[in-house]
């Protein structure tokens, strides 16, 4: 497989791409004819009205759902028929719209679970738990990066909603994914965390591709390089935020009169 | 004389499971009756009866058996319903040099390959049931058979034994169907049996399976249609549960029938007063086994196993159960069996008056020749 692109490369590489993506649920078509290119070192936003098919596109890309038509390519490999765990191991990791942590594990363990796999510490049933201690430095780094150091030993269940989302991001980052798919990372988050997470995403994207669904338009305006607008399962507009937000179709379908 | 100042007999059987009606707690009463009838003492020491419920689990049974022998000075264990339990306990008794007398289990293995010099098989076995029902019924005109067989070793051996006697006596077997253990519905099998046109439908199964098959046979009008039902392992207790309405006309073999003669009636009456039911061959068999054991201790003048066992092998049996019985070298008690037929409700004169005795099968015909049993104690 090709070596990962150097940061600062002038023409960013396409790392994840979809062609002619379609998904039917019975007679209802949730996604149709979607072409999408996600680039290295860029934050790419997927926006659109509720029910436009954003989450469905995510599910298709990560293979939690099988597309009815179309192909998906990750880092040059066709993954249209690959199971989801395999896709994750290839470097495409997602977060969920409804928060997903391991509630009865501590914050540290949440992150370590993610670190175990790339470090080949997952199947070893004959080694003591202390074998995991060598992951602690990296885990603490990640925990610090998202500002959860104080809660390091708390159970994830005891965290507030916003903190859980932050933890989820730390866990996702632990896999050192090449492509990160974030489904409404800011939803339900207090303003103070929105800033933090925006910063994290920006930093992360320096040497990764990020695709995110977000309804918080100020976030989209601030951190996304590229925006795709979806409506009724089809691409309505594409471009940078400034272009897209001026598009009258987008304004009626999605943004309303509200100013970002 | 008695080694520990006491003779202790253990009645180990199923008291809460499928075979609880077969023997159960009532057998414990039967054993106590035997002790009382003997006078409560032997060799001037008191006789005690203990009992336990093995829950049909061989491991519980063997645990109890070992504990009884090792720590509670039990001298002999009796009844032992269910073959797996009987075989397991007989092996332990052999190892510990103690006496066991099986009245509850049917397998001929007990006096065959797995026989023991101290093990006895008292009331009945699969062979005697087969001879009784299979052989005798052919003579009564039931010369073509169809078997409904429970699909496991016990069922096969009942069917095979019976079929042999049917053929030996000039009958034919026109077919058979194997049904899974614990089938609730037999109508499909009964229909197959019905259309076979056989004169006798042999039920080579046990317990609830047999009851359900009989009940459904009456529903489908099989007996009314002129066919005969023969249950290969069925006793008074189960007939009582089924009721005469459903069971009428059924043929079966037992080693005892309470309404046989005055002696048996007298015994049964006493038993009924204590337990609320009439005895079947298991209850009476256990009574007889205890009584004979005490007689043997008396005769040997000690409770030492070898001596008692020798006496048991030598002494003729003569009580309400085993009249004219003898004990063979493989431990098989050989006595007469009875071919019985369930009465019509109208013909039953009193409660528990259920059977007509069709035939008496002499012990020597009923039981397997010890020389052919495969037991290496028989020379």
């Amino acid at each position: 497989m090709a070596a990962s692109a150097m940061p600062g490369e002038s023409n960013p590489r396409v790392v994840l791409s979809a062609r002619g993506l379609r998904r039917d649920f019975g007679a209802f078509t949730a996604v149709k004819n979607v072409d999408l290119d996600v680039h290295h070192a860029r934050v790419h936003a997927l926006i659109g009205p509720n029910g436009a098919g954003k989450t469905t596109v995510f599910n298709l890309l990560t293979k939690f759902l099988q597309p009815t038509h179309g192909t998906i390519t990750l880092l040059g490999t066709d993954i249209t028929r690959t199971p989801p765990d395999k896709v994750a191991r290839m470097g495409l990791v997602r977060s969920f719209q409804i928060s997903a942590v391991f509630p009865h594990l501590t914050v540290l363990d949440n992150v370590r679970v993610a670190l175990q796999r790339p470090n080949n510490l997952a199947v070893q049933f004959w080694r003591p738990m202390s074998a995991l201690d060598r992951l602690n430095d990296r885990a603490d780094e990640l925990i610090a990066a998202v500002g959860l150091t104080r809660e390091r030993n708390a159970l994830a269940a005891d965290l507030s909603y916003g903190r859980k989302r932050v933890l989820e991001i730390a866990t996702t980052l632990a896999l050192d994914p090449k492509v990160l798919l974030l489904d409404e990372p800011m939803a339900g988050m207090g303003q103070e965390d929105v800033g933090v997470v925006s910063d994290i995403i920006r930093t992360v994207a320096l040497d990764r591709a990020v695709l995110m669904v977000e309804h918080n338009l100020s976030v989209v305006a601030n951190i996304c390089h590229h925006v795709t607008v979806l409506q009724r399962g089809e691409i309505l507009a594409e471009g940078d935020y400034a272009e897209v937000s001026q598009d009258p179709r987008v304004r009626t379908a999605y943004m309303g009169t509200e100013e970002a | 004389d008695a080694s520990d100042g006491k003779i202790k007999i253990g009645i180990l059987n199923d008291q809460s499971g499928v075979y609880a009606d077969f023997g159960g707690k009532s057998s414990y009463e039967a054993a106590k009756m035997a002790v009382e009838d003997f006078g409560g003492k032997v060799l001037d020491v008191p006789v005690e009866v203990v009992t336990a419920d093995h829950q049909n689990k061989p491991d519980i049974a063997s645990n109890i058996a070992r504990q009884w022998y090792d720590t509670e000075q039990v001298d002999a264990i009796m009844e032992l319903t269910t073959s797996s339990v009987a075989l397991a306990v007989q092996a332990i008794s052999k190892e510990k040099k103690k006496i066991d007398i099986v009245t509850g289990a049917a397998t001929t293995e007990l006096t065959g390959k797995q026989c023991s010099p101290y093990g006895f098989h008292w009331a009945y076995d699969t062979h005697s049931l087969a001879v009784g029902t299979g052989g005798a019924l052919v003579k009564q005109g039931g010369d073509s058979w169809f078997f409904l067989t429970a699909d496991y070793a016990f069922g096969y051996s009942l069917e095979e034994n019976t079929a042999n006697f049917v053929k030996e006596n000039g009958g034919t077997v026109v077919g058979s169907v194997r049904h899974p253990l614990a089938s609730t519905d037999f109508s499909s099998f009964l229909l197959q049996a019905q259309s076979s046109g056989a004169k006798v439908i042999g039920l080579a199964n046990a317990g609830l399976d047999t009851s359900n098959a009989i009940k459904q046979a009456s529903e489908f009008g099989i007996v009314q249609g002129g066919q005969r039902l023969a249950a290969l392992l069925f006793t008074l207790a189960e007939v009582h549960g089924l009721g005469l309405e459903a069971a009428q006309g059924l043929t079966l073999t037992e080693g005892f029938y309470w309404n046989r003669d005055d002696e048996s009636r007298a015994f049964a009456k006493r038993f009924f007063e204590r337990t609320g039911k009439m005895p079947n061959m298991i209850h009476t068999g256990t009574y007889s086994a205890v009584l004979q054991y005490l007689k043997a201790v008396q005769k040997a003048g000690t409770d030492e196993t070898e001596a008692v066992s020798k006496a048991l092998h030598e002494m003729p049996v003569d009580d309400v159960f085993g009249r004219g019985g003898t004990v063979a070298a493989n431990g098989r008690m050989i006595h007469d069996m009875y071919l019985l037929q369930v009465k019509k409700p109208a013909d039953s004169k009193e409660p528990w008056d259920y059977f007509d005795v069709l035939d008496t099968i002499p012990g020597k015909d009923a039981y397997l020749d010890p020389a052919k049993s495969g037991c290496d104690l028989v020379k």
């Binding site: - | 109508s187 499909s188 229909l191 197959q192 317990g207 609830l208 009851s211 549960g241 089924l242």
Partner: protein, 295 residues
């Protein structure tokens, strides 16, 4: 004579009919199980015991108060249903916010205790119960002799199955119940008395089992063991149908009854595992069961 695989066609019809009759029991029992599971998320291990209770209550009613089959068909399910409702109200309801496995374990214990009690007092070999005079005898259908009572069983169980299905899938009460399974507190916050509904549901499930029990009493020996013999097969039926799907449970009940009936002719040794074999195959192809929603 026309034959199929060596079996006369007429006999085959007979076997099909018998399969259908057995299927009626499976359908009735799995229906009650599916109702309880679908709405309370409780695997009712005591279902077999409640079926047995139905038959026993009918027997006891006849024995001690002289109440015969027809009234018993109503009275026994009412008694058992009321008993079920009490159990739900005071015991089972404490387990709802826990892992559903606790419901299964609780009812398992209850099944043991009920069965043990009856075995203790009535022994294992069972009690007689005669079919009602009106339905004794049978009809010669040409290809087989159909006992009238069996015909009645097929008809009445079909009616009850469909009635229950309509009640649950097509009425408002049904949608309350289905919603309450998912999030009982929220439904309560809408102003619906969910605890009461659940109590009634469990009562209904138990009553359905008891109804099947009364129907069975004249056919099968009324024995404490009759429930545990049939219940595991019924579980398999419900798994094949797709747990929680009520129509699925009914249809699968009949279909597997017939499948089992045919196996009894062609390969009788396998007749009591055929249901499990079908289950394994169905699970391989359709993990949620034939009619299951995923879950």
């Amino acid at each position: 004579m026309t034959t199929i695989f060596g079996i006369p066609l007429a006999a085959l019809f007979g076997q099909l009919l018998i399969g259908l009759i057995n299927g009626s029991f499976y359908a009735l029992l799995s229906l009650g199980l599916a109702v309880i599971f679908g709405l309370l998320r409780v695997i009712n291990f005591a279902h077999g015991a409640q079926y047995m209770l139905g038959a026993f209550v009918a027997y006891l009613l006849l024995q001690y108060i002289g109440i015969g089959y027809w009234p018993a068909l109503i009275v026994a399910p009412l008694i058992v249903g009321a008993f079920g409702a009490l159990v739900e109200r005071f015991l089972l309801s404490r387990l709802y916010n826990l892992d559903p496995l606790y419901g299964l374990l609780f009812t398992f214990g209850m099944a043991l205790a009920i069965e043990g009690t009856f075995r203790y007092f009535y022994g294992a070999s069972g009690q007689p119960y005669a079919p009602p005079a009106l339905l004794t005898g049978g009809t010669n259908l040409g290809f087989m002799f159909l006992p009238n009572y069996r015909g009645w069983v097929v008809v009445v169980s079909l009616i009850v199955c469909i009635g229950t299905w309509l009640l649950i899938e097509k009425t408002k009460i049904g949608s309350y119940l289905r919603a309450a399974t998912e999030n009982s507190t929220l439904v309560q916050s809408f102003g619906i008395n969910v605890p009461m509904l659940l109590t009634l549901t469990y009562g209904l499930g138990a009553a359905l089992a008891a109804f099947a029990g009364v129907l069975a009493a004249p056919i099968y020996q009324v024995s404490p063991l009759m429930g545990s013999n049939i219940i595991i097969v019924v579980f398999a039926v419900v798994v094949v149908g797709g747990m929680g799907s009520i129509m699925g449970a009914i249809i699968t009940g009949y279909v597997l009854g017939v499948a089992e009936g045919l196996t009894k002719v062609f390969y009788p040794e396998a007749s009591n595992i055929v249901v499990f074999v079908i289950m394994a195959i169905v699970l391989l192809l359709r993990p949620a069961g034939l009619f299951g929603r995923d879950g």
